[in-house]
């Protein structure tokens, strides 16, 4: 069991400010992600999801506690871990084409020659449905398409774990549903372990094998809810299954309890 | 940021620059003869004030810069309106402006003295030549970019084309025109100083050259600070005019922050 754990958060704590202004953000986060899983992290707004993701990615350090990736403590961005950021308009480089943006992530991968990298980038762009757009610049693409380039770039580093930071927060509802299915399909096709941070409860349940519900700030893990719906999901059928509705109900209830506490 | 904070930040910066200057002067890294301390520079300024040559020339320089800037702004806006009204003029003037724009003012001064003498006409001509482009280019671009809805609103109200131009398009373009005028203010001061340097009769630019040629080093530095001060002063004046004329925009952008 333990040997399949790929990412582990052990009692993560972080606070901003000093003295009286000290504001604890993360207050003892513990969870695990197993290889091959799709895990969602969901929590009430303003609960420090981004802070958590930064710590998991090795982009910032927790005050105490530890992130372990493949058993090794994370102190800086480790090899084999890729991030897709929420803000696609700024995370893609405007001076590189879609293809060049994807190739930029192939630093430690098997593709060494120029041609190999090109072929691999085109393959990934085809996988996200952007076959004909390899030569386009990000600013020539719609928001949804830009985020697909960012996802292709995330896949390009051939990582063991892909962190997705609210990747669909800024796209419209229809695109959002399509992208959810695309990400699920890609995760299976490339056997990609994923950790999705989101504020959308439906999305969290629909995508995941396991939902980690965070408490409000100072944040800890409120509960973990397994989602037993199998690997194949369908926007209509899955959302009507009792298992989906049950998991959704549980997550919703948790988050609502925090909301009413805040209001009170 | 509040204005008081901005001002105090400016004051702290000024003190820092002066302190740094004094420290370099005292360190002896540069011979004191070439790099006098702040007290020596103040002394130089005081002497020039006592003889009256600094206030007299300062008034001349500022007066020239301001007159030129106002005329260049008015002319630039007029050309921008003309460009907006006539596509023929717009396209044609672009060729002419691309030839006139890169001319360094210094190159024109010798010939201009010939034609215009050493009086105010010379300075107005040189300033117009270099300062007109900011208000003109910004104005033409802003007039083109006025939202269609605003123009249609005017038409629905039965306004004539001229009324739409002056009562809707021009006010809408004013904030961007002022950005051009702010740039023109800096350029007009450059033009005045260089024209005074080369015309060689009066003004801060002339004084700067004369003090430098006669190796009056503290005075030269004092005059350098005066030209910097003039730049700040002119920028403040433009900002004041902007607040008076486009107060709505200042409040709109201030409120959204």
């Amino acid at each position: 069991m333990n040997d399949t754990t790929i990412l582990e958060a052990v009692d993560l704590r972080k606070a901003y400010g000093h003295g009286l202004q000290r504001m604890p953000i993360l207050d003892g986060i513990d969870f695990r992600v197993r290889k091959g899983d799709f895990v969602s992290v969901v929590g009430p707004s303003g609960c420090g999801k981004t802070t958590l993701l930064m710590a998991l990615a090795g982009l910032s350090q927790p005050d105490t506690g530890e992130v372990r990736f493949r058993g090794q403590p994370v102190t800086q961005p480790p090899q084999g871990l890729a991030v897709v950021f929420q803000d696609y308009s700024r995370s893609l480089f405007p001076w590189k084409t879609a293809r060049e943006n994807v190739i930029f992530a192939m630093r430690d991968t098997a593709q060494k020659t120029r041609q190999e990298r090109r072929d691999r980038a085109d393959e990934l762009l085809a996988a996200v449905g952007l076959k004909e757009f390899a030569q386009k610049y990000p600013w020539q693409l719609s928001g949804g398409m830009q985020q697909r380039v960012a996802i292709a770039r995330g896949l390009a580093s051939e990582s063991d774990l892909l962190l997705l930071d609210e990747p669909l927060a800024a796209v419209d509802a229809q695109t959002r549903a399509d992208m959810q299915d695309l990400i699920l399909e890609l995760a299976q096709r490339f056997d990609q372990t994923c950790l999705l941070v989101t504020h959308d409860v439906d999305e969290a349940v629909y995508m995941a094998d396991k939902v980690i519900v965070l408490s409000r700030r100072p944040t800890s893990v409120a509960t973990e809810i397994p989602v037993d719906l199998g690997k194949r999901r369908d926007q209509l059928a899955t959302r009507e299954q009792p298992g989906f509705l049950h998991a959704r109900h549980e997550v919703m209830e948790r988050i609502r309890s925090y909301r009413s506490q805040m209001a009170g | 940021m509040t204005r008081a904070l901005l001002w105090s930040r400016g004051a702290v910066s000024l003190i820092f620059v002066l302190a740094l200057w004094q420290a370099v002067a005292l360190s002896g890294a540069v011979p004191a003869k070439f790099f006098p301390g702040i007290p020596a520079i103040i002394d130089g300024a005081r002497q020039m004030i006592a003889t009256g040559e600094l206030p007299r020339n300062e008034i001349l320089t500022l007066g020239r810069a301001l007159t030129g800037l106002v005329l260049a702004s008015v002319a630039g806006i007029a050309l921008a309106l003309l460009s907006d009204a006539s596509p023929f003029f717009d396209r044609g003037f672009r060729t002419i402006s691309s030839l006139l724009q890169p001319v360094p003012p210094a190159a024109v001064v010798p010939m201009a003295i010939f034609a215009l003498g050493l009086g105010i006409k010379l300075y107005i001509f040189i300033i117009l030549l270099v300062s007109i482009w900011g208000p003109y280019l910004n104005g033409a671009a802003a007039l083109r970019a006025v939202p269609r809805e605003q123009i249609l609103t005017g038409r629905m109200l039965g306004l004539s084309p001229a009324a739409i131009m002056f009562r809707i398009k021009l006010p809408a373009a004013m904030p961007q025109i002022f950005a051009g005028i702010r740039y023109a203010a800096a350029v007009s001061l450059i033009a005045v100083v260089v024209a005074e340097m080369l015309a060689g009769r009066d003004g801060i630019g002339f004084l700067l050259v004369r003090k430098s040629f006669s190796i009056r080093i503290p005075e030269t530095y004092a005059l350098m600070f005066v030209t910097m001060f003039n730049g700040v002063l002119l920028a403040l004046l433009v900002n004041l005019a902007r607040r008076v004329l486009t107060g709505w925009h200042v409040r709109q952008t201030g409120a959204s922050k």
Partner: protein
């Protein structure tokens, strides 16, 4: 089918011709040697062509050297000041004050230190070009895109690699603006220094024409300076179009 042309399409050629025609008529009606018409100026261009070229060559040589020296020092310095926040903020007021100094005022100042020779003139030009270059490079690398840097870090780029492959391209559009300002300042200071400290160069040529009442010759000289400025600007714009199109197109699309 030939596309229908509007009168405005002929304006770029027609309007300058109209201006020249008016000029010619005005000059013919006064017939004063102090107000030469376009034909006289064309003649003067023909007569003085080789002199102007030699003098302009001397001017441009100094401009190029001065500009190169300025760029070599200020671009790395600007990036460094932008990256090292604290030092940058300390020197920000110094840079702000230098930016308000009119470039020609540099001429008498540098003269105090360096005299009036070629080296002094190159120093003046370098100084004038350095200020806009430094300001723009500093501003560009100060306002670095946080997100781009996060991406670079998550892709495990080294500091140097990030600077070269992320920071520098991101800063180039603003540096290019600085280059255009620097070229204008360099040309201005170069001509000013030549007129004041006469030795050679196009500024000296202009001064001589004035002293000898050769208005047409002077206008011919100005024509070539303007042409030089136009060519340099066009080259810089072409470079920006070729290498920095992503910046301008992205801005247009954002509107």
């Amino acid at each position: 089918m030939i596309p229908l042309r509007k009168p405005a399409d002929y304006a770029p050629i027609l309007m300058p011709l109209i201006v020249v025609a008016i000029w010619a008529l005005a000059a013919a009606s006064t017939s004063s040697p102090l107000f030469p018409g376009p034909a006289k100026v064309a003649q003067a261009i023909w007569h003085n062509f080789s002199t102007i070229m030699v003098q302009l060559g001397a001017t441009l040589t100094r401009v190029v050297i001065g500009f190169a020296v300025a760029a070599a020092i200020t671009v790395p310095l600007g990036i460094m000041l932008g990256r090292l926040r604290i030092i940058g903020q300390l020197f920000e007021p110094v840079m702000d004050m230098l930016a308000t100094l009119p470039p020609p005022a540099i001429v008498p100042l540098v003269m105090l230190f360096a005299g009036t020779g070629d080296a002094a003139k190159i120093t003046m030009i370098a100084f004038a070009a350095a200020i806009p270059l430094l300001m723009n490079t500093y501003e560009a690398s100060k306002t670095q895109n946080e997100m781009a840097n996060l991406v670079a870090r998550s892709l495990r780029l080294s500091r140097f690699e990030t600077m070269l492959r992320v920071d520098l391209p991101a800063a180039l559009p603003m540096i290019a603006t600085g280059v255009r300002m620097a070229v204008a300042a360099a040309l201005l200071v170069s001509v000013t220094s030549e007129i004041l400290l006469a030795t050679d160069g196009i500024g000296v040529f202009l001064q001589r024409q004035q002293e000898n009442f050769q208005i047409a010759g002077g206008l011919a000289g100005i024509f070539f300076i303007s042409l030089t400025g136009l060519v340099v600007n066009t080259l810089i714009l072409a470079f920006e179009k070729r290498w920095l199109f992503w910046h301008y197109r992205a801005q247009e699309d954002a509107k």
